[in-house]
């Protein structure tokens, strides 16, 4: 057999999805009492946990202070047991530093940082199980955690990956599809205003195809948005029901 068939003649992918179909998303907000905000999300077999602290006084070197807005501090990590091969993953290796930087850029675009000058917002995300689309899952988890923390944002940030295999744009790649080595694009979108918070692609793709892949990613981000929105609204109702209809005032 000449490699794995990623897209069958009938148009189904390895895990039985259609080209534009997402994996099942399950999300839960407010999983920790200790943190200001937290969220847990599963996208298929990719599982991520995000916690948010702040805004609080700048920790560590005070030279980082920004006088007109808050500093967004991110940290991305992967659990030792998150991949097929058990491996100790030290903080600050090249891959996670890059991911940290991407997350920081994404959320600086979305959080209304100018409301909290001279303070710091910490976002910690950890991948518990990696099955493709780690960046996107982290962004979605962090968005929920920030909303849970009550930090003002312009909009949700929804992220989703898209690939291009056998002349077809595929949404929300799994690990198997990522490992095949085709072009892969990660898009973080502010879905209500259609603004791009981050767009990343690190392989070659013909210009003519780019638009189709972008469209597939945009569509997938909006599908993610619908799921996240549902999760937030459910959480909101849950919390206000628990606190005895104080929100109804």
């Amino acid at each position: 057999m000449a490699g794995l068939e990623l897209l069958s003649d009938q148009g189904y992918r390895v895990d039985g999805r259609k080209a534009g179909e997402l994996r099942k998303i399950q999300a839960r907000m407010g999983v920790f009492a200790q943190a200001d905000g937290s969220a847990y999300i599963e996208q298929g077999n990719t599982k991520a946990l995000a916690v948010v602290y702040g805004p609080h006084e700048i920790r560590g070197s005070r030279s980082k202070t920004l006088h007109d807005r808050a500093v967004v501090n991110c940290q991305y990590s992967m659990a030792t047991f998150s991949t097929g091969e058990r491996k100790r993953r030290p903080h600050g290796d090249r891959k996670s530093t890059e991911m940290t930087l991407h997350l920081k850029q994404t959320f600086e675009a979305a959080i209304l940082t100018q409301l909290y000058p001279r303070s710091q917002i910490d976002i910690y995300v950890q991948i518990l199980q990696a099955d493709g689309g780690n960046y996107c899952t982290c962004v979605n988890a962090a968005t929920l955690a920030i909303i849970d923390a009550g930090i003002p944002m312009r909009d949700y940030v929804c992220a989703c990956s898209a690939g291009f295999i056998e002349d077809t744009p595929l949404a929300d790649l799994s690990y198997v599809e990522e490992a095949a080595g085709g072009p892969q694009l990660a898009l973080a979108l502010l879905p209500k205003s259609d603004q791009i918070a981050l767009l990343e692609m690190n392989s070659r793709l013909h210009e003519d195809h780019l638009e189709r892949v972008m469209d597939a990613a945009t569509k997938a981000c909006k599908d993610v948005y619908a799921v996240l929105d549902q999760a937030v609204k459910e959480h909101l109702q849950e919390v206000s029901a628990m606190l005895g209809d104080r929100g109804m005032a």
């Binding site: 005070r62 003002p152 206000s240 929100g247 005032a249």
Partner: protein
């Protein structure tokens, strides 16, 4: 009353012409958008435009701003300033403390050159102060106690007893009757528990 409308970040609430933006909202292209998840509350102020704000079930984050009254604890003193930790803003307790500084010249309004920090504050005192500056790159929040209502409200003597104020610059220990010097605040009547 009908249940308040719930909203999520990024949701468009109404035009800027109908309402004024309040807490938890922002404006873009002439519209008011939500920046928090919570419930929309429209408040009508006499004849003015109604203010649209978002309330959450949990408290929002507060930062000290210029002009607010804060309650802080003195952590250390030296000849030039006292370092404090801000614990309350107005009557709201902070989740995390902020560091602040009370400089010698900001301790009292008159005879500034005769002020001694150690005759005004001691580590452990609870002080009511006002924020005068957010500070610069090197310093943190600058506070002042140069008003009658500002200064030490709770202090313990060397014997460990909570002291009683006897004048604007002295407090007395109820156990040993030793007088200690402090910049005492004249606590406003409405804050006193009777």
């Amino acid at each position: 009353m009908a249940p308040a409308k719930c909203c999520v970040p990024g949701e468009r609430l109404c035009s800027l012409e109908d309402c004024a933006p309040g807490h938890g909202t922002y404006c873009k292209h002439g519209y008011i958008f939500a920046s928090l998840s919570g419930y929309v509350v429209k408040k009508n102020d006499n004849g003015m435009m109604p203010v649209l704000s978002i309330v959450r079930d949990t408290d929002s984050h507060l930062l000290p701003v210029i002009g607010v009254t804060v309650t802080c604890k003195v952590m250390s003193i030296n000849a030039r300033f006292a370092k404090v930790q801000i614990m309350y803003i107005g009557s709201t307790a902070l989740k995390t403390t902020f560091r602040g500084t009370i400089r010698k010249e900001d301790i009292r309004a008159t005879e500034k050159d005769k002020v001694e920090v150690y005759k005004s504050f001691r580590p452990g005192d609870i002080v009511v102060a006002k924020v005068i500056s957010l500070g610069d790159a090197q310093s943190n929040y600058l506070l002042t106690t140069a008003e009658n209502e500002l200064g030490v409200v709770v202090a313990h003597s060397e014997a460990g007893a909570s002291m009683v104020p006897i004048s604007w610059c002295e407090m007395q220990c109820p156990k040993t009757h030793i007088k200690e010097q402090r910049k005492v605040a004249r606590v406003r009547a409405e804050y006193l528990q009777t």
